[in-house]
Subunit: 339 residues, 4 copies
């Protein structure tokens, strides 16, 4: 039984993490921290967890945490994560960081997109990008996992087979993504106020969303043996629903392609990945909501490849993949507590 | 053409007011004030109004307002209204106040429920309760209208015929009310954050909602010739939708009653009221949404009278009835700009 | 490992049942039947189950079913259940019937409310009402379980302690209930068409809903040692959300009562019931959605007891309590697969 | 006062038409027809219209209609429209057809996409495409208007300035469109059942939607003086909301372009169009819901032009533009009853 700390326990992803870990035979949540909720019971923050666990939030203290936990899931805002990670690593606590702080390998790119200097460049070098479908081999031995973003996982898993096989042009790839509102976090904001977000649909951060360089970086890595950098045009939209992301992706094939062959390619590429479902119908977000599945299909329309992919942003896009990483790191079957 | 000021222009009711008044042949919005949005165009606050009016928010100033407007609609929070009303009245500006400040006739009751002393008791004595269906005769000459609350209008109009005819017991009347989220205003709050309010249903302020004494007071007045005070048990609930209130009301008849007779009573009682629709089917909020209608029916179930009534909280429950009052005050047909 | 049949596999409750049973260490779904979907894979009916089970719907055949399953969950419409149950019981298959066919003990009451003669009066006599919180002792040996209705469970569990202790008047109990749309089943209907049900709120079947006699019957049984029949005034409403029921209940106390004492009574009454959470805040449906919990609290308002209770209509109100019954029948801990 | 017939009165667009026309000083709805609702009052079909009009649905009869109406709005399914139009035109009734039957100028293309032979090729030749922003001059004298599709208007208005000025490549234009559910009509279907469509997001008819050839045809016409055919890749999606379409469009510029210049081009192009709002912020569907406005902006992202545009599918996308056409045909200001 591994002692687990949830650092930054008040957010939605942390609530999902706790819920999943309560059913994990090899994990026990022993620490929950929250700066603004010190002394508050976890089930007061998350009433859905009432009667499920007897735990009170404390302030973050690396020493006390290390006494009770061998792994920490970090549900902190960016910059807060990189302030906490070094102390945890030094004390031998393995870290699964759900923030963006360790996802971009180049600190200059990080500074460009996040507006802050990176303060733990050493950590950045050791971090492993926690997308098991692509980096399953590197995760078991990692001490610091950069858990991927939700839009990012959707986009990368949807495009990886095409990029790996060098079947598409690498620039001008259009990722038109749509997300439920929980992806924006738990803090109230004017545009997320119910009467504003409900019965409404709009794009936001067009051309400026911070998941863009993350998608570029990982897909470029996926295709590094056969070509140059991948550059996506990424447009996120807000859907009036709680959960789920669907990405509609338009790519230009480098040569003749057939739907059937491409679907076979996807099946082969993900043959060892229990949470990827290559479907033939058009995926709907609701079918993967509350699961750790990633559903994907594709069509060829007037010469473009149209990939349609979805997942639950809080689970496969955050807490679920984090537990998938935990499973790989601590020797559990990859699907433990996730089916 | 009457010059109209919208004081506190940033809220939802004010947006509806402006939208309605743009189609009013006898009104022109000449002033919009907003403390926190001074210098901001009204259509920047409310993008739905783009190209509809060329007006910029200013700070509230009674002198400048009085130069351009003969009537002011106040979309202010309680206590802010009673701070502004005396200055307006002194300058001959007639006021339609959408806050609760002038609704309760007894300043002690006000202080009890709102936690503040009333600072304009003189104004309180002159204010007319702006529910045209009950006080149509008093409104034309009023200089200060207390525009009713949304739950209040629903509950009062639903019960008035039964109370006026002294057909029901006056205590133990149960008003189980359900409202869309816009009723809670435009300011973001944790429980109104989209992922919290969406796909959720709950009661709030059980036994403590401030519309309770307002319902009691007006219904008591309606029935004053035949009996004592009315006392309702009022339970508000939040519905995951933008607009609309439905009240399900349970009353105990004082003697034998028949559905058909009671429906006839309602039709007679509201014969002169163009916005009351006595329907035979069960009313659904959506049929009165975006209108100034109040829909009502009733059933007798195991000896109780069950009244079901609904309206749009932002229109018949706020901005629409305010324009209805404006029409009566300025000699327009009651339905002008409201059909 | 107990072989399980899902009879009538296409509905929402059946989908939830299958999903829950996939995580049950002592159950294996070996048969799925559906009249209109014979030959269709279960995961084609329910795409959320893709990759989870390899099973194809067949026509209902009691002999073939009995070869592979020791228990059958019936997700059939009323009248269809009582047509299938005798054949299953004769073959030694234990039945958990999610329809209404075996809930009302008096076939005359059944005929009155459902408009059909009961065709299995013998079965009716042996059926056990499957609400473990009240009938936990009788369930283990039952061969035929009448799984309670969703509104029914909410109402009964909310009122049982008050009735058992004879603390309230037994007539005039008002149950104002609100349900998400999945409670109405999977068959498309005009009033459940998205643009009709969305952003809408209304009552339906006022005074006529078929859960009324079921609530009366069970609560009367709960209070039989201390008084006469319970009679509720039941008003169901449709909430624009997928799941969840909240009941707001108004009861008249027979003598002086205090909130604190009543909450203690509830805690004691349900001390052995792991899925009942007596909470102090006002329960919101979202906190029990996707769980088997029933959340309840109460307030005293102007002399009435106001009980507020909620549950997930598809889980604690249908599939979850069905598995709770299965657990009791087959010797598993009551919470297996349900936390 | 022009007598108006609503043929096919039961749908959503017809309800909106009636609602708008009730406020039109120059129109009176004198006839409503509905095959399946003969003898039913219009306000029984559409309870929101209660007390607004006293009209009963009749069967369609061209003679009787022509006696009372000079113009007919057709809210019929495709193929039903072309069966009714010739009889109306022969009797001198001008027609505004909201179906797709007269939109595609080439009957072979029609047969390809709709699976039926066109039976009124003569009518097809006289029909005018009713998009006033592009064909304002031809509408006043038209006797048969093909009212555009909702996705179509959104896409065409969003791209017309770029195509007219020959600024973009004409193939590979990606139109990723998202629509509220009312766009799919009033007939219940399994995928539009509330618990299926709610909290769900998916694409449908990828590469196969019938609005594709309509978009191609009109944009090709818009750009005919400077280049060849336009070919869009059109992907519609279903958004869990009642109303509103947002299209996110990706086009490849033929040469260097600047955002500011392009926005100016749009302002100039639509200078005479009172319902087009060229905005600088990102448009949200809610700001044009319940209005006849079309909101549009654009961004340049990594060398692509990204156009974002929205409108209310039932108003600017159907009933509103139909009244705009009516206004032009009958000599009213274009905005009458539409602001």
């Amino acid at each position: 039984m591994t002692g687990v700390a949830i650092v930054g326990a008040s957010g939605y992803a942390s609530r999902e993490l706790i819920r999943i870990l309560l059913n994990h035979p090899g994990a026990k949540v022993t620490v929950a921290t929250s700066r603004q909720d010190e002394g508050t019971r976890v089930d007061a923050l998350h009433p859905s967890l009432a009667t499920r666990l007897d735990l009170t939030c404390e302030a973050f203290n690396a020493d006390r945490l290390a006494e009770r936990a061998r792994v920490a899931f970090l549900g902190l805002p960016h910059t807060a994560s990189m302030a906490a990670v070094p102390a945890l690593c030094e004390r031998g606590v393995r870290v699964i960081d759900l923030s963006a702080d360790y996802r971009l390998t180049d600190p200059i790119v990080y500074a460009d997109w996040y507006g802050h200097q990176h303060t733990d460049v050493a950590g950045l070098k050791t971090a492993v990008y926690g997308l098991p479908e692509l980096y399953r081999e590197r995760i078991p031995s990692a001490n610091l996992i950069a858990n991927p973003g939700c839009y990012t996982s959707t986009s990368i898993l949807a495009l990886a087979p095409l990029v790996a096989e060098n079947l598409i042009e690498r620039t001008g790839v259009i990722v038109d993504a749509k997300s439920g509102v929980s992806g924006a976090g738990r803090a109230p904001k004017p545009n997320l106020h119910f009467p504003e977000a409900n019965e409404n649909f709009s794009a936001y951060n067009v051309g400026k969303h911070r998941h863009t360089p993350e998608i570029d970086q990982v897909l470029t890595d996926v295709g590094k043996s056969t070509g140059g950098p991948v550059e996506v045009i990424f447009t996120p939209h807000l859907v009036p629903m709680d959960r789920g992301i669907l990405a509609t992706i338009y790519a230009t094939p480098r040569g003749p392609v057939a739907e059937h062959d491409l679907l076979d390619l996807y099946r082969t590429f993900y043959a060892r990945s229990p949470f990827v479902r290559v479907v033939t119908g058009l995926p709907a977000t609701k079918d993967s909501t509350n699961t750790n599945f990633f559903d994907v299909t594709l069509r060829i329309v007037r010469g473009k490849i149209v990939v349609l992919a979805c997942l639950d942003n809080l689970i496969k896009g955050a807490a679920g993949v984090a537990v998938q990483n935990f499973n790989l790191m601590f020797g559990h079957p990859e699907t433990t507590a996730l089916l």
